[in-house]
């Protein structure tokens, strides 16, 4: 395999021999107090106003109704609420534990959505992945009683993170899963190549939300995470449903296309994305909706915000197989430009291989209206607050699809990401 070069991202060649593929956190138990956390990260939390779920975990707060699996560097360190989940029959554990405890499930589903030869970075992940999260929701209408959450953090210098997530929702099951990613400031570029596989059987629903805030590099474009991620959901059963919601604010480079294979009849795929880039960040993200089942439908809403010297690309595919009759897709990707040094690009592929497919695609690109900014400034907001307000309005359609707890934080996170982009 050769390294893919089609994305609109530029970076020095990665030396894959010079990567650390496994790193265990210094202590195997969770940090006991917030003092152990990177102060810069804490400052960000402070700006966010509301403690993130991750912070609660770090602080040892156990009252939150969110079950968390935390993966530090290459090892899953703690998983909470296991017992409660077990009562509902839901398995939520680290990948290493799943391999030990539920080998039959892992064997059956691992690599069935993203085979090891799928693409360059998926192959790398398949070769070196060390841990990750595993979720299994049993059949016949089991609703996962709480939001599941995984928190990924790269702590160690010079390491890459290669985790694997596998979520299986059996017949009629429902699960909502949120992943948060973060990394402290580092000079070197670090590699993150994860693979996420989702399997939804008949009438099952998986809601997968990501708030990605990896270190984006400093203001001169030095350092930052290279985020090369393969995420794919397989709507295997009829009336199954997979929904991807992503908020991409971090990483020096984002190369990520959460996709849905709509295999089941009447299955539905959704993709809601906010990609904010500032400084020297490069984002090439989008989705693939592959319609194989009859009457399947999909919806794509993508909002890209480019500021500073960043490049923000939406790249997507919507295709209808010859035998997939009556499929529907609606795609809307809007881009907002802040400043004249950044770029926003849209590269959609629409392939209708039968006449009953109804595909609609629209995209617009524009800048923040001066009138809007003027109005906000006149009302006493600073220019940064005004931009954050307008941008939050721009991304509202997507924000609504995030779990409640994370909406407010995300709004603030977007504001923080755009700091320094105006004035």
């Amino acid at each position: 395999m050769t390294e893919p070069t089609w994305a609109k991202v530029h970076y020095p060649k990665i030396d894959f021999q010079d990567q650390y593929y496994y790193s265990a956190p210094k202590s195997t138990s969770a940090p006991s107090s917030l003092d152990e956390v990177d102060p810069q990260l804490l400052e960000t939390y402070k700006k966010l106003g509301i403690p993130l779920k991750e912070q609660e975990l770090l602080a040892g707060v156990k009252s939150s109704q969110v079950a968390v699996d935390a993966v530090f560097d290459s090892v899953s360190v703690v998983t909470t609420f296991k017992a409660e989940l077990k009562k509902a029959g839901v398995i939520f554990c680290s990948f290493s534990e799943a391999v030990r405890e539920h080998p039959e499930l892992v064997k059956k589903y691992l690599g069935s959505v993203v085979p090891q030869s799928d693409n360059y970075y998926a192959a790398l992940n398949a070769a070196v992945f060390s841990d990750g999260s595993f979720v299994y929701v049993p059949p016949e209408g089991v609703r996962c009683p709480m939001e599941l959450s995984t928190y990924f953090r790269i702590n160690e210098k010079n390491t890459g993170q290669f985790e694997r997530t596998l979520i299986i929702a059996e017949r009629g099951a429902y699960v909502s899963y949120l992943e948060g990613c973060t990394a402290p400031t580092r000079d070197e570029n670090q590699l993150h190549a994860a693979v996420v596989e989702l399997v939804a059987m008949d009438e099952a629903e998986i809601k997968y939300s990501t708030v990605q805030n990896w270190y984006p590099g400093d203001k001169n474009g030095k350092g930052g995470i290279y985020n090369f991620v393969t995420k794919r959901g397989d709507c295997r059963g009829h009336h199954s449903r997979i929904s991807w919601t992503q908020v991409e604010t971090g990483s020096a480079i984002t190369w990520k296309y959460p996709s849905c294979i709509l295999r089941g009849d009447y299955s539905r795929g959704e993709f809601y994305s906010i990609a904010v880039s500032n400084g020297y960040q490069q984002v090439d993200s989008g989705t693939k909706m592959i319609h194989l089942g009859k009457n399947s439908s999909s919806r794509i809403i993508s909002k890209g915000i480019a500021a500073g010297r960043s490049q923000n690309t939406y790249r997507g595919l919507v295709s209808a197989h010859r035998k997939a009759t009556n499929v529907r897709n609606f795609t809307n990707c809007d881009s907002l430009l802040i400043g004249d040094k950044c770029g926003a690009h849209t590269v959609p592929y629409i392939e209708a291989k039968n006449s009953s497919a109804h595909f609609e695609h629209e995209a617009t690109t524009s800048k923040i209206s001066d009138d809007m900014l003027f109005y906000c400034r006149q009302r006493g907001l600073s220019s940064e607050e005004a931009v954050a307000l307008v941008v939050n309005g721009f991304v509202r359609d997507v924000l609504q699809h995030l779990p409640m707890e994370f909406m407010a934080e995300t709004q603030k996170l977007i504001g923080i990401s755009l700091e320094g982009s105006v004035g």
Partner: protein
């Protein structure tokens, strides 16, 4: 990937055909060297295939297998009546006509009446007698550098129209350049038009590629129009590719727009086994306005690909695109449209729309509208849709007493009509609308 791909039969045939016919192609030393460079470039490039992003949906290595012998000094007997018959309803439009048969200028069939400010010369003559400076202008293009179809055109071009519209001139009626395919033998016809519209001029130019009744099937046409518009010029450019002889039609338009110039381009394509219409436009001065549109009627196993690039290299320019594909049987329509807005091209206004109407379950439409934007003070958008005939509309028509087949025709005509309305010349629009009606009423294969 630097894996050497073995040459296809067609690639070898093209290089061999060039070696065999190079001495018979028109042009002096400078032209010959340009032709040699071009065939060299083609040998290096090879026929474009699906691994090349711009050719993802149209693989010439697969679709262009047999190369017909190049048409050089062909003398097939064709009468003015034959040409009128081939043109159909368009023959009734009042125009100045310049006719080429199998890639060779036919003075006897042309009626280029004298018009103030208009100069028309056959390309073959210009290549042979022109100075080096003139011929250099005729052999170079503003199109993409590494395009195999352009290289082949430069290597093989035999004739075409060199059109110069003087500064401030206004043509009283359209100039029509007709390219006729005729005769029992299939040919590879390579033609090139070089069109320059002077500052402040106004003109309508029609480029018609038609086939005579009974012309051999399996012919190939490679046509290129190099268009330059001066400051404030207004040029309407219409291309008709209507054949009945299952031909391969490779077409390039390379357009450069001067400051405040207005260019309205329209393309009509039907009856081609494989058509690839490439349009490459670039603005050279601010205030340029571009309006591109097209109607493509596709049936049988036909494959029609429209690939365009609108390069907003300077500020304050406007672009509009509207393309409509009607796809029947196993017809395949492709639209690839890229709008580039360069870093300093502020105040750009670009909008693009591509729509497909699929009449048969086996039809296919692939669309890739692209925006590449590096400036912030812009308004750009694109849209694309594909669907079959709306059942509700059909039901409405039927409930009003319109029989189903008439209702279908009505709906299809109104779909195509939106694009045809872009043609401002009344008679020509009516003639093209007639083309669409004839196509719709043609017996199904």
């Amino acid at each position: 990937m630097n894996v050497a791909i073995p040459k296809t039969k067609a690639e070898q045939a093209l290089t061999e055909a060039f070696a065999a016919s190079a001495s018979k192609l028109p042009g002096g030393t400078a032209v010959k060297s340009a032709r040699n460079d071009a065939i060299g470039a083609f040998s290096a490039l090879g026929l474009p295939h699906r691994r090349i992003e711009e050719w993802k949906y149209t693989d010439l290595r697969v679709n262009f297998k047999d190369v017909a012998p190049p048409a050089i000094d062909d003398a097939t007997a064709v009468s003015a009546e034959d040409v009128r018959a081939a043109l159909g309803s368009v023959a009734n439009v009042d125009v100045h006509a310049v006719v080429f048969v199998n890639g060779r200028h036919r003075k006897d069939l042309s009626t280029p009446g004298a018009m103030a400010g208009l100069e028309v010369q056959p390309l073959a003559g210009a290549l042979t007698s022109g100075s080096d400076a003139v011929t250099e202008g005729l052999t170079t293009t503003t199109g993409p550098r590494s395009d195999a179809t352009i290289a082949l055109n430069t290597a093989f071009m035999t004739d075409g129209a060199v059109v110069r519209i003087g500064n401030g001139a206004t043509l009283d009626k359209p100039l029509m350049v007709v390219f006729v395919t005729a005769g029992p033998r299939a040919h590879l016809t390579s033609v090139r038009n070089v069109i320059s519209a002077g500052d402040g001029s106004t003109a309508t130019l029609i480029e018609a590629h038609v086939a005579l009744q009974g012309a051999a099937t399996g012919g190939q046409t490679n046509t290129l129009s190099e268009v330059t518009t001066g400051k404030g010029a207004a040029l309407t450019h219409i291309k008709i590719a209507a054949g009945t002889n299952a031909a391969v039609h490779l077409a390039n338009w390379n357009v450069s727009l001067g400051a405040n110039a207005e260019y309205r381009g329209f393309q009509y394509t039907s009856g081609q086994a494989l058509a690839r219409n490439q349009i490459h436009t670039v603005y050279t001065g601010p205030g340029g306005k571009l309006d591109l549109s097209g109607a493509y009627l596709v049936r049988g196993n036909e494959h029609v690909d429209t690939t365009l690039v609108v390069d907003h290299a300077v500020p304050q320019c406007e672009s509009r695109e509207l393309f409509k594909d009607v796809l029947d049987d196993r017809g395949r329509g492709i639209f690839q449209g890229k709008i580039i807005v360069r870093p300093n091209a502020q105040k750009t206004d670009g909008k693009q729309m591509a729509q497909a109407l699929m009449l048969s379950p086996d039809a296919e439409f692939d669309s890739k509208p692209e925006l590449e934007i590096y400036a912030d003070d812009v308004v750009c958008g694109h849209g694309t849709t594909s669907a079959e005939l709306d059942g509700d509309l059909l039901f409405y028509c039927k409930s009003r007493g319109i029989p189903e087949n008439e209702a279908r025709a009505l709906l299809i005509e109104s779909f195509v009509g939106e694009a045809l309305d872009k043609v401002e010349h009344d008679d020509l629009r009516a003639a093209l609308s007639q083309y669409a009606t004839v196509w719709l009423n043609a017996p199904r294969s």
